[in-house]
C-alpha cells in the first residue's frame, strides 16, 4: 500500500528562540505521524518526531489515585484540578514558555482569578536580562539587521553550536547578508567564555575568561574604551594586551553585535553582568554602530514576557494575591517562593521544573498538590496529581510565538494531536470557567 504523505512547508520550529521558519515536515496522513523533517536542527527535528504517539506521550487526562494514574474524563480532571487550585491559599502558576501566546494570556487570566503567583521560565534564565533592561534600556535590533549588516559578532557566555544550532547559519556567522555578501569571510567572530566551546573553536578570536568574572572584564573594557590606563597585567584571567586588542576590534568595526547567554545571567553577578554589557554596547556607539541581543532559550519565552507585560505590566515574577499584579523578582519568583515553602499548590504549564529547579525548590514543590499540563512523561508530570494532556503548539495547533528579537511569528499546524489532547489554550480556558464557577463568580 502506498503511504499518503502530506508535506507542510515554511513550518516554524517550536524549539528554541531562533524560531527557524523554513522547515518542511512530512506527515503520514493515515497514521497521523511525522515521518520526515527537513531543514531542522538535531533538537528541533527530534521534537517533531517526539510528537508521535509513544509510551512517553500522554493522550488522555489522568488523575493519581492511590499512587497510580487512572484515565478520567476531561470534566473530571478539570474539576479535580480546579478543586486543588481553589482550595490553595497561595498557588503557583509556572512555565508558559513552550506554548503559544493565546494560552499564555489564558494563564494570566487564571492567575488573576485565583490570586496566584504567576511566573514563566525567564525566571531561571534571562530574568536578569529583563532586570538589566529595565534599569538601563537595551540598544537592540531584529536578527535580519545583523544578518545583513553585522561585520563583528561577539558571543559572550553562550554556545549557539549546542543551544541554538541554526543561529550561526541563519543570522550571525555563516549567512550571506545584503552588505555581507561573502558570509563568514565578511565577519569577525569573537567568543568570550571560560572554555574553548565548539562555537569558540570556529571563531576568529577566543577570549578565555575566569568563571564568574564577566563583570570585571566588561568594566575593564569600558574603562579602556574611555581611555583609562589600568594597573595590573590581567583582568579576569585575560592579559591586558589582549583586552586592548579586543577593545580595538570592537571600536573599529562597521556594525557590531553582542549575543549573550546564561554565562552572564546565571553566574554570580546576574543582572549586573548584563547591565555592564548593555552599558558597554551603548558606549561603543560613540565609535561605531553596536547592538546586543539575548540568546533566548525556549521558543516562546520572549512571547511569555510580552503577553505577561501587556496584560499585567510586568514580564515575570508576578503576584496577584492582593487582587492586582505586583512584581518583585527575588520575592515572587518561582524558585524563591518555593524555597521559602510559601506555595501550597502548583500548576505547571509546558515546563519541567522538577528537572530545571534547584533540588531545594523541587523538594518543597512535591510537598503540595501538583497539576501538570504536559504532553510527555517528565520528572514533573510523573509526580503530578493531575495530568492534562495538551496538543503540542507549533506542531498540533497554531498560535503566535515571539522570536528572541521579539518578532512575532505565526506557528503552523502539521498534524492532529493524538488521543483526547486539547490545546493549551482550550485547557486553560475550560479551567478558568470551572474555577470561576467554584468561586461563585
Amino acid at each position: 500500500m502506498v503511504e499518503k504523505i502530506n508535506t507542510t512547508t515554511d513550518v516554524v520550529c517550536p524549539f528554541c528562540g531562533t524560531l527557524c521558519d523554513d522547515l518542511e515536515v512530512d506527515v503520514d496522513i493515515k497514521e497521523n505521524k511525522v515521518v520526515e523533517v527537513r531543514n531542522g536542527c538535531q533538537i528541533g527535528t527530534k521534537k517533531f518526531f517526539a510528537s508521535n504517539p509513544s509510551d512517553h506521550r500522554y493522550e488522555k487526562p489522568l488523575i493519581k489515585d492511590n499512587g497510580s494514574f487512572k484515565e478520567v474524563s476531561w470534566d473530571e480532571a478539570l474539576n479535580k484540578a480546579a478543586d486543588i487550585l481553589v482550595k490553595a491559599k497561595r498557588p503557583l502558576l509556572y512555565g508558559f514558555s513552550s506554548t503559544e501566546c493565546e494560552a499564555q494570556g489564558k494563564g494570566v487570566e487564571l492567575a488573576e482569578v485565583l490570586g496566584a503567583v504567576l511566573d514563566n521560565t525567564a525566571s531561571v534564565c534571562h530574568g536578569p536580562s529583563l532586570l538589566a533592561i529595565q534599569d538601563v534600556g537595551a540598544p537592540t535590533s531584529t536578527l535580519g539587521e545583523y544578518k545583513n549588516r553585522a561585520d563583528l559578532i561577539v558571543f559572550w557566555g553562550c554556545n549557539p553550536v549546542h543551544a541554538h544550532p541554526r543561529h550561526l547559519s541563519r543570522y550571525s556567522e555563516f549567512v550571506r547578508g545584503y552588505f555581507r555578501k561573502d558570509g563568514r569571510n565578511d565577519r569577525f567572530i569573537i567568543v568570550v567564555d571560560p572554555r574553548n566551546t565548539h562555537t569558540a573553536q570556529i571563531a576568529d578570536l577566543f577570549v578565555q575568561i575566569n568563571p564568574s568574572e564577566d563583570y570585571e572584564l566588561l568594566n575593564a573594557i569600558r574603562a579602556i574604551l574611555r581611555g583609562t590606563e589600568l594597573d595590573g597585567k590581567e583582568v579576569s584571567g585575560v592579559q591586558m594586551e589582549n583586552i586592548i586588542e579586543l577593545v580595538n576590534k570592537l571600536k573599529t568595526c562597521n556594525f557590531g553585535v553582542i549575543f549573550f547567554g546564561m554565562g552572564l545571567t546565571q553566574s554570580l553577578s546576574h543582572h549586573r553582568n548584563v547591565d555592564a554589557a548593555i552599558c558597554l554596547t551603548r558606549e561603543l556607539n560613540d565609535y561605531t554602530k553596536f547592538l546586543l541581543t539575548p540568546m533566548r532559550g525556549h521558543y516562546n519565552v520572549a512571547g511569555a514576557n510580552q503577553v505577561f507585560t501587556w496584560q499585567t505590566g510586568y514580564s515575570y515574577s508576578i503576584d496577584f494575591s492582593k487582587g492586582y499584579p505586583r512584581y518583585n523578582p527575588g520575592e515572587f519568583s518561582s524558585v524563591d517562593v518555593l524555597i521559602r515553602n510559601e506555595i501550597d499548590a502548583s500548576l505547571i504549564v509546558a515546563s519541567d521544573p522538577a528537572s530545571n529547579f534547584p533540588a531545594a525548590a523541587v523538594k518543597n514543590m512535591f510537598k503540595h498538590p501538583l497539576i501538570s499540563i504536559e504532553p510527555h512523561h517528565t520528572p514533573t508530570s510523573v509526580n503530578a496529581d493531575v495530568i492534562l494532556p495538551p496538543a503540542i503548539a507549533g506542531i498540533e495547533c497554531e498560535g503566535t510565538a515571539y522570536r528572541m528579537d521579539s518578532v512575532p511569528i505565526r506557528l503552523r499546524k502539521v498534524k492532529d494531536a493524538p488521543g483526547e489532547c486539547l490545546t493549551d489554550k482550550e485547557i486553560l480556558e475550560r479551567l478558568v470557567e470551572v474555577v470561576k464557577k467554584k468561586k461563585g463568580e
Binding site: S123, V124, P128, P194, T197, L268, S333, P358, A360
Partner: protein
C-alpha cells in the same frame, strides 16, 4: 581518587537538548545529562577510566554522574555538567534576590566511585519526595 577546589559550571549541550525533547525519563537522557566533563589533564589525576561514576559534591548537595573528558578544553580546574536534574542537585539555589539561581560557578569536589550507581531522572527526582 578525589579532587578538590574545582569550579562547577552547568551548561547546555546538543545531546542534552535532543534527549530532553526525545524522552526526559529515558536512559538516553542519563547518557546525555548525567555526565561531568573534565579537562583532559585534570582527568588524569582522577586515575580512573572514562565513564567511571563520580560523586560531585558542593556546599549545596552531592550527586553521582558518569565522568567524561571535555571536547571543549582546555579548561583546567573547571568541570561541566549539562543542565538537568543531576546538575540541579548541586547548584546554588540562592538568587541573590533576582529570582535566578546561581547555576554557574560553585566550588566542587569530586571523587571516583567505581561501584556507584547513577540514577535515572525519575529515580533521582523521587529521592526529593518526603517518605
Amino acid at each position: 581518587m578525589s579532587m578538590n577546589n574545582l569550579i562547577l559550571i552547568t551548561c547546555r549541550t546538543i545531546d542534552q537538548g535532543v534527549a530532553l525533547e526525545g524522552g526526559k525519563v529515558s536512559r538516553e537522557s542519563v547518557r546525555a545529562a548525567a555526565i561531568c566533563a573534565f579537562d583532559k589533564e585534570d582527568f588524569k589525576k582522577l586515575d580512573c577510566l572514562v565513564g567511571t561514576p563520580i560523586k560531585v559534591a558542593t556546599d549545596f548537595g552531592e550527586v553521582l554522574v558518569y565522568s567524561t573528558i571535555s571536547e571543549e578544553g582546555p579548561h583546567p580546574g573547571i568541570i561541566f555538567i549539562p543542565m538537568g536534574p543531576w546538575a540541579n542537585q548541586v547548584v546554588n539555589p540562592d538568587s541573590q534576590s533576582c529570582g535566578t539561581p546561581t547555576y554557574k560557578g560553585m566550588k566542587a569536589t569530586v571523587e571516583a566511585i567505581p561501584i556507584g550507581k547513577v540514577l535515572g531522572a525519575v529515580e533521582l527526582i523521587n529521592t526529593l519526595k518526603e517518605a
